[in-house]
Symmetry: D2
Subunit: 307 residues, 4 copies
């Protein structure tokens, strides 16, 4: 790609194309707080190493980051526990849906990777040990606020409460891991903390800002070391979109992590931290237009890690 | 990384380290032709965009490329059929071992990706349709010889015969897909062709040379288009090491494809085509020292695609 | 039940009810030879310990016994190998469909029981060892003719040929077991023998006659010992109707074995050998009206083994 | 079998043989209350239609009936809900271990049968709806006391508390079914009730007495109708021993239900209600000596339902 001056027109064009896209996917409806969001919404934000942040669409509208929070709790957990974390969770794609319990049964309660629900519960459980949920959630928010250089990042309490009320599947995963000795805290406590981290609300701009440490932005190494950043990116690429991870890698070619709220955080190492948001989901539970928008951005910029 | 002059010492050092590595994995023993290869063997070759090719160890000793052949047949099949190929095979990591039949049963005979055995059989079946095995194998060899700029690449007939004699598992996969209407040719014919492609013998130098089209070497686009190269690299990264693909991405950070003969082809897009060979395998069936060698190379050079 | 004189009216009534049944299931259509049979057909035959055989419907029309043949090859195999057979095949219900390969993969190529296809292939393979398919099929026919006291029992060659032409799934199972060392003969040979045993044609009267040794008919012990008869009956009850075995036990309460040709052989120990035939199948692949007819017979006679 | 006078010597002989059996299985150790029971214990009780009850061994020592309670809650649930119960739970053997969650995932939260843990939780949930756990447990105890004609049957509170403390796996199953809409009450409430029903303590004599309604004892039809008894027996035969059900049918030939406390209730329809107890379990989690004792009893008496 040429100079920075070329990027804004690309974002504008993608934003215009997404506004007219006929197939917008299906908004998650398992809790009312997500279901009422309009599928017309679209936002995109791109932060560059020089500190600039370009946007398109509703980049200052908040949305529920949901599973994207798993990237940040993973970074925190690796900071606290180091490689010891990997005794409790694997690093392989699961080949199954995000909340499958089958793999847990055949592999002794060790989740495949930290981005499926079971694995994210283990990560949250790991950073919860010895502390209260309030302390852990405080740390997560502080991490996000510092990473994003923005203090206006909060938990949506109504979403958290609703997650809790519809949390049977995650509680099942947590009890299952507890039965295998792979959960330290009571399932209700770990799940409660997890439901709150998923209910964090951020704008596309804030999310792209918060992801800068993953592109290796100058100064970001104080948050997470370069070696660890590389590894988190690798996990995002192989496991970040559940059973659609291979497809995202094939089409987009960037590490990314999606959330059921319609957000996606994608990283072009050394080049950009990208956030998109569009609430309609595809069959794998990833943002339909968000994926398409990043695919077009990656093609227009040549940012694919694959050449 | 600095200048090219820095690379040879790195290769020399890695070669020396590998010669002394105590845990060399376990040589594949399902056919005698592979079992008799010494686990002391090690070779590495790195081809750069400027045409140079640096090596370490037994880089001119031939070995059985086995599943690495799947990368080349995939490139050929995409050239012949284009995206139509994807109606018969998926693009997702499988989360299961390389020759599992479970996924086929639950997903109607459509293999998860072209790098597990079932998927590779579909790819071979696709390029076999309307032709003889001899014609197909001729095309594969021509592709490899042209890609490697080396005419001295052949099929080891003894290995092919032995594969055939121990091919029940692949025949089971082929018949299973035939039962689901996802095989055009008789299972014995498709498998026979596949056994021969796996029995191709190459040196590490030849393999690194043959992989140059995947790093985007100047002029390589006449073999495979850049867009297609990106996608093959994406598939190699997410699926190239079976149920150890996530681990390879995490540790090495490069697209790669391993073979049970102990070879690995890895690509640093825009920077290098890398081949290693060491016959001992780890638990996932990938070269134990080969993986370690590429991990060290990627760390020393900063070639990881993840930053 | 009262005297024998009460039984014929029961059969007549059931035959009349079945003639008018609206939901007749779906005739198997995977080979043309089965697909062309009319779903209007119905037959029932009941043989009693005193030698009498009562019938209703088309009891002298031949049909393809298909998987019911597995009962007879099991009896032959147990006669030849005794309990040694159980090192190669289990005795548990599978909880999966009749031709599933999933269980084989997770349990090292040992089929769950002799009545799923994989298990029946092992049984046939066991009695084939050291002999030709012709010899084995000759023995099966001799056994049936002697058990039925009727020499007019033959293999339908067109059905056998058609099975062979559509036999990919069974060949997959056979190759899979060969890969696990649980098949002695070449898969094509074992499957070929199996396809022919499935293509045996019998009438309902012949089948009920042939099943008398399983009810403990006087003199039947010369064919199979009482202890072995009990065990075959137990296997029929727990595994005889694939993934509908529990349902058959619940509704009918008798050991039974169904075939995809629409036949069912059921045994009321000490009381009757029962054969029904109606080509339409239910979702589990068992005769829709055949199951209903035996259920009504068992209720009218009180023959359920469960009280 | 001959006269009743022949039965006591058979019981005595079996009791003597069991006292000397070298391989006594392994006592369940997941809760201390079960782990401390001596594996030397053995008891057997046989109730006949004429009201007599013969015993051998420690027939008046109480033990934890555990999963045998599922037979009685099933009888109660069928009495309350009739066939409507079957919309929430199936009637097929599972082919998997007693507490597997895999089947639930692939079959939408509908357990395979009422005797695996998930199915038993649904049954308990069904009779709990609209009532308190205290009321339900009161009904279960009243049912047992009336069936056994013995008021001295109680819940062991320490065992119940311990089950609760180690109940993660069952809570996982319950939450999982709740996520699929197949649980009416809060998982903790349904599981709490279930843990208490499993903690009921009975002697072998009491258990054999309580099982008389399943053999069709005179007057028992007031508790459960004959048609329903037949069906419960059918379920016990096909599903009563988890993944060892086929084996029990093959070896013993009687409907039966085991518990992890080492008890087994078996029914010879029209002939006997049989209870055995020996705490050591085999690999499938069923009483090692209990199974052997009933096998010998069935052989000596000819009570197998299979002829």
């Amino acid at each position: 790609m040429g100079a920075l001056s070329d990027l804004q027109p690309i974002l504008d064009r993608i934003g215009a194309e997404m506004a007219e896209a006929p197939d917008r996917g299906r908004v998650a409806d398992y809790i009312p707080e997500l279901a009422h969001v309009s599928d017309r919404q679209f936002a995109m934000a791109v932060c560059l190493p020089d500190g600039q942040c370009l946007t398109s669409g509703a980049a200052d509208t908040g949305f529920s980051i949901q599973s994207i929070s798993k990237v940040f709790t993973l970074a925190i957990a690796l900071g606290r526990l180091g490689d010891q974390l990997w005794t409790r969770v694997g690093r392989e794609p699961s080949g199954l849906s995000f909340n499958s319990v089958v793999q847990l049964e055949t592999e002794n309660g060790i989740p495949r990777n930290p981005f499926i629900n079971a694995g994210a519960l283990v990560v949250t459980d790991a950073i919860l040990t010895g502390r209260t949920p309030r302390e852990v959630l405080g740390e997560v928010l502080r991490f996000l606020r510092e990473a994003a250089s923005d203090d206006d990042i909060h938990i949506n309490k109504a979403v958290a409460a609703s997650e809790q009320a519809h949390g049977h599947r995650n509680l099942a995963l947590a009890h299952f891991m507890a039965a295998h000795g792979n959960l330290v805290n009571p399932p209700a406590l770990t799940c409660g903390t997890y439901f709150h981290q998923c209910a964090i609300e951020m704008t596309a701009r804030q999310l792209a800002m918060a992801g800068r440490f993953l592109m290796g932005a100058p100064g970001a190494a104080r948050l997470v070391s370069p070696a660890r950043v590389r590894r988190i990116n690798a996990l995002m690429l192989t496991c970040g979109h559940y059973d659609g991870s291979g497809e995202f890698a094939y089409r987009v070619g960037l590490p990314g992590k999606s959330g059921v709220g319609g957000g996606i955080l994608a990283i072009a190492p050394g080049r950009a931290s990208i956030a998109v948001w569009s609430p309609g989901l595809n069959e794998q539970g990833n943002s339909q237009l968000g994926t398409l928008a990043i695919e077009r951005l990656a093609r227009a910029t040549g940012w694919s890690v694959f050449g």
